[in-house]
Symmetry: C2
Subunit: 457 residues, 2 copies
C-alpha cells in the first residue's frame, strides 16, 4: 500500500508540474501573440529615433526623450510614472572632427575619425605630430618617453574574431578605449587615436566613453574607422616618419540635470517586493541610438502595455526604469541603486536589455546556484521562443550598480554577431533594427518577469 | 565480479564516447577558427553580388556566375570541378512595371509593383480595370464570374505574424502567388495583383515564381508592395468603384542553356559514397540575390576551402553543388536528382542552405527516427555554435528532388525573423548580409558534414 501511495504522489506531483507548465505556456503564447500582433515597441523606437534622435546626457533631445517616454508609459496604463532627478555630465562634440595623414607624396589623405566621449579638444588649429603605432600597453611601456614624447599614439587592438560571442571579445579590450589616452600621455604623447572597437571593417568610427587619470596631462582621444586604421598601419609600415593631423573641438560643459524615467505596475499581493526591468534612454550623439539602447527601453516599456492589455496582474510591483547617462558616467544606474538601497522594499530581481534589439538567445544572470537551477527548470517553456541559454554572466551596466546589495541581476542576451558592427557609430539607426527581432526580446523579458513574479526566486 | 566488469564497460564506454567528443570538439573549433579568421565566404559573396549581380536563369549574369564560381572552387583546391548542362526557362521582366490607382479626386496614385516570375505582359498600353479585393479563394469563388469578369483581382493574404518561424508562415500562403492568377482568370479577371508575401511593411514589391493552369487564359500577375497594398485596401474601403492601371512587358523567351556547378573532394576511403552540400546560384532579377541564395552557395563552397586548409581528408566524396534555376522551374534540382539516380553510387546525405545567411539555429531533416537520434546525440558539440534544433522538417527545394530515392536530406535552419523582409526584393543585397552570421552558417554545415562523413548515418 505504501508503494502505491508513493506512486500516486509522484504521479499527481508530475501532473501538478505538467499542468502548471501548460498553463504558463498559454500565458507565454498570450504575451507573444499580443506583442507580435499589436506590439508598439517598434513604432515607439521609430519615434525615439526619428522624432527625437541622438540622446546624449545633457542634450535637449535627452530631456525630450524623458518627457515623451513618460507620456508613452502613462498611455500604456502604468499605475505610476515618475522622474528621478540627478546631475549628469554634459559633454559636447563640437565641430565635426577632421584628420589626415601627410602622405610621402605630399598629399593629404583624410581619415574618418571621431572624438571619444569626454575627450578634450585639440584646440581650433588641431595637432600635427608624427604617429607611433602600438598594439598593447606592454609595447607602449617598452617604447617609453623617448619614442612617444611629442607624438600621436595610434593603438591598434582588435576584437578576437574566434570568440563565438562578440561581447566577450569587446569586454576584453574596451578598457583600452577608456584608459588609453592617459597611458599614452604618461610618456608625453600629444594625442591618442584608437582603431575603432568593431567587429567589421568599414568607414564608420566608433565613439564611446573614456576617462582621464589625473596624474597625467589630458590629451585628445579619438577613434578612427577600422578601414582608415588599417590605412594608417599600411602607411607606417612602408614609411618611417608619417605625420598625422587631428582636430576636434569637443569640450565638457557644467553638469546638467537628467532623469531616470520610472513607471510601475503596483503589485496586487506583495506591492513592496520589486522587480525591475529596464534599458538606458541616453545614447551617443553620432546616431539615433537604436540598438544602443532605444531597443532595450522600448522592449521594457512593452511589458506595461502587454501586461495591462492581457489582464496579467502581477503580485509584486513591476518597475520599468529607463536609465539616463549609462554611456557617459553611469549617473542613472548609480542614482537608482541609491534609491533602491534607501527604500524599505525587497528587490527580488532586476533585468536590463542593453545588448541590442537582436533576436534573443538567452539570459545572463548574477544569481545563486539554487536560484539559477529554479530558473533553468523553466527552460522548456522558453525554448520555442529561441531561448536556450541561462547561465551566470554579466548583468546590464545600469542594474550592475545593484550588485553590492546582493540582488539577483540579469541581462537579456540577444544574438551578438551584428552588435559591434553598429555600436556607437552613425550606423546605429532605426533602419538597422528588425521589427520581429526587437519584439522577441520584449516577449521573452515579459515572460521571464511573469514567471519570477508568479513563482518568486 | 560480473558487476565489476559491467561497471568497467560502462566506465570505459563513457571514456570512449567522451574522448571522441573531445577530439571532434577540437576539429569543430579548428573549422570555426579557420573560417572566422581566414574565411572567403563573405568576399566571394561580395564578388557574386557586386561584380556579377542578379542571376536569373537564362541571363548572361547567370552564365558568368557559373564560370566564376567554378574558378573559385578550383582555386580552393577541389579535386574535380564540372558543369552539368540542362535547358532552363528564360523569362525577362522587360521595362520597369508601372501601376496606379485612379483616385476619386481625379489624380493618379502610383504604386510600387513588379511582375511575378513567368508572368505574361499586359501589352505596351497596359490594362485599366476596376479592382476587386479578395482575401481567400473561398471569397473569390463566392464572388464568381458576375463580380470578377473584366476586373483586376487584388488578393490580400498575409504571413501569420504569430508564427514563431516566418518560413512556416510563408509556406502556408506561397501557393497563392503561384496559382492565384489562374484562379482569378477562371472567373474572367483581366489581371491579378497580390500583396507582397512579406513579414514587414515597406515600399519594395516581392517577386517570385508563378505558373499558369492551361485551362484558363493567361493573365498578367504582379505583386504590389505591402504599403501600397494597404493603400489599395484603404482606397477601396472608402470608394465603391476604383480603377487600377497596371503595365508590364515581361515575356518568356525560348529555353536557354544553364548549368549546375559541381565540385568534389574525392573520398579517401569510400569515394563512391556521396555527401552533397549546396545552395542555388540563380536569383531573382530585382537584386543581387545575396540572402537568396548567394549566401547558401558561398557557405557551401567554403567547405572545400576549410577542409583543404585544415587538412581534413574525408572518407566519403563530398560534393558541392551550386544548383541553377531553383527560382523559376527547379531544372537544376531535377537534373541533379536524375544524375544521382543514374550514377552507381550511394548517396548518404544531402544538405542545402537556402533560407538566408542569417545566424544558424538548427538543421531540419528528412530522416529516419534512428538516424535522427544519432545526429541528436551530437547536439552538445554544436550548441556552442548556436545550434539547438535538430528535427524533422523541410529540406532545401533543390535537394528535395532527391526525396523519392529515400536519401537523408537536410536544410540549414538560420534564424528566420528577417528573411521575408528582403526575400525576392530589390533589398536582397550584399549590404544586408552580416559577415559573421554568414560565416557561422558555413561553420556549422562544415561541422555537420565532417561528423556524417566520419561516423556515417
Amino acid at each position: 500500500m505504501r508503494k502505491i501511495v508513493l506512486f500516486s504522489c509522484i504521479y499527481f506531483g508530475f501532473l501538478h508540474v505538467a499542468s502548471a507548465q501548460v498553463n504558463d505556456s498559454i500565458i507565454f503564447k498570450t504575451i507573444a501573440d499580443n506583442i507580435l500582433l499589436h506590439g508598439t515597441a517598434y513604432s515607439n523606437l521609430e519615434y525615439i529615433c526619428k522624432k527625437i534622435g541622438p540622446r546624449l546626457s545633457g542634450s535637449s533631445q535627452m530631456v525630450k526623450a524623458e518627457q515623451e517616454t513618460a507620456r508613452m508609459l502613462r498611455e500604456m496604463g502604468a499605475d505610476t510614472v515618475y522622474l528621478q532627478e540627478m546631475k549628469v555630465p554634459h559633454w559636447v562634440r563640437g565641430e565635426k572632427e577632421t584628420a589626415y595623414l601627410n602622405m610621402p607624396d605630399g598629399k593629404k589623405r583624410s581619415l574618418n575619425i571621431c572624438a571619444l566621449g569626454n575627450s578634450v579638444g585639440t584646440g581650433k588649429k588641431g595637432i600635427t605630430a608624427m604617429v607611433v603605432e602600438v598594439h598593447s600597453y606592454e609595447e607602449l611601456d617598452a617604447l617609453g618617453e623617448k619614442a612617444i614624447k611629442g607624438k600621436i599614439v595610434y593603438l591598434d587592438v582588435r576584437l578576437n574574431p574566434t570568440y563565438l560571442l562578440t561581447d566577450r571579445a569587446y569586454s576584453e579590450i574596451s578598457h583600452f578605449r577608456w584608459n588609453g589616452a592617459s597611458r599614452a600621455a604618461k610618456y608625453g604623447a600629444v594625442a591618442f587615436v584608437i582603431r575603432s572597437l568593431a567587429s567589421n571593417t568599414d568607414d564608420f568610427p566608433h565613439t564611446g566613453g573614456m576617462g582621464y587619470n589625473d596624474s597625467f596631462p589630458k590629451i585628445p582621444a579619438l577613434a578612427v574607422s577600422t578601414r582608415d586604421g588599417d590605412f594608417i598601419s599600411a602607411t607606417i609600415k612602408n614609411n618611417k616618419d608619417v605625420a598625422l593631423f587631428v582636430r576636434n573641438t569637443s569640450t565638457s560643459l557644467p553638469l546638467a540635470t537628467g532623469h531616470n524615467v520610472i513607471a510601475e505596475i503596483r503589485g496586487s499581493g506583495m506591492p513592496d517586493e520589486i522587480i525591475t526591468i529596464g534599458g538606458h534612454l541616453d545614447s551617443w550623439d553620432l546616431a539615433e541610438g537604436a540598438q544602443d539602447d532605444g531597443a532595450g527601453c522600448v522592449q521594457s516599456m512593452e511589458l506595461v502595455r502587454v501586461f495591462k492589455k492581457s489582464g496579467i496582474r502581477p503580485k509584486r510591483t513591476i518597475r520599468v526604469v529607463l536609465f539616463t547617462d549609462e554611456e557617459n558616467s553611469g549617473a542613472g544606474g548609480i542614482k537608482y541603486a541609491e534609491f533602491a538601497k534607501a527604500e524599505n522594499k525587497r528587490h527580488l530581481f532586476a533585468i536590463e536589455s542593453d545588448a541590442g534589439g537582436f533576436v534573443p538567445r538567452g539570459f545572463d544572470f548574477v544569481i545563486t546556484k539554487e536560484r539559477l537551477e529554479k530558473l533553468r527548470s523553466w527552460l522548456l517553456l522558453f525554448e520555442p521562443y529561441g531561448i536556450h541559454r541561462m547561465g551566470q554572466g554579466e548583468p546590464g551596466a545600469d542594474v550592475d550598480y545593484l550588485r553590492p546589495m546582493g540582488f539577483t541581476l540579469s541581462q537579456l542576451a540577444p544574438d551578438s554577431q551584428r552588435y559591434f558592427d553598429y555600436h556607437h557609430t552613425a550606423q546605429d539607426s532605426f533602419a538597422a533594427v528588425s521589427k520581429r527581432e526587437l519584439e522577441f526580446g520584449a516577449i521573452v523579458m515579459a515572460q521571464l518577469v511573469y514567471m519570477i513574479d508568479k513563482y518568486g526566486l
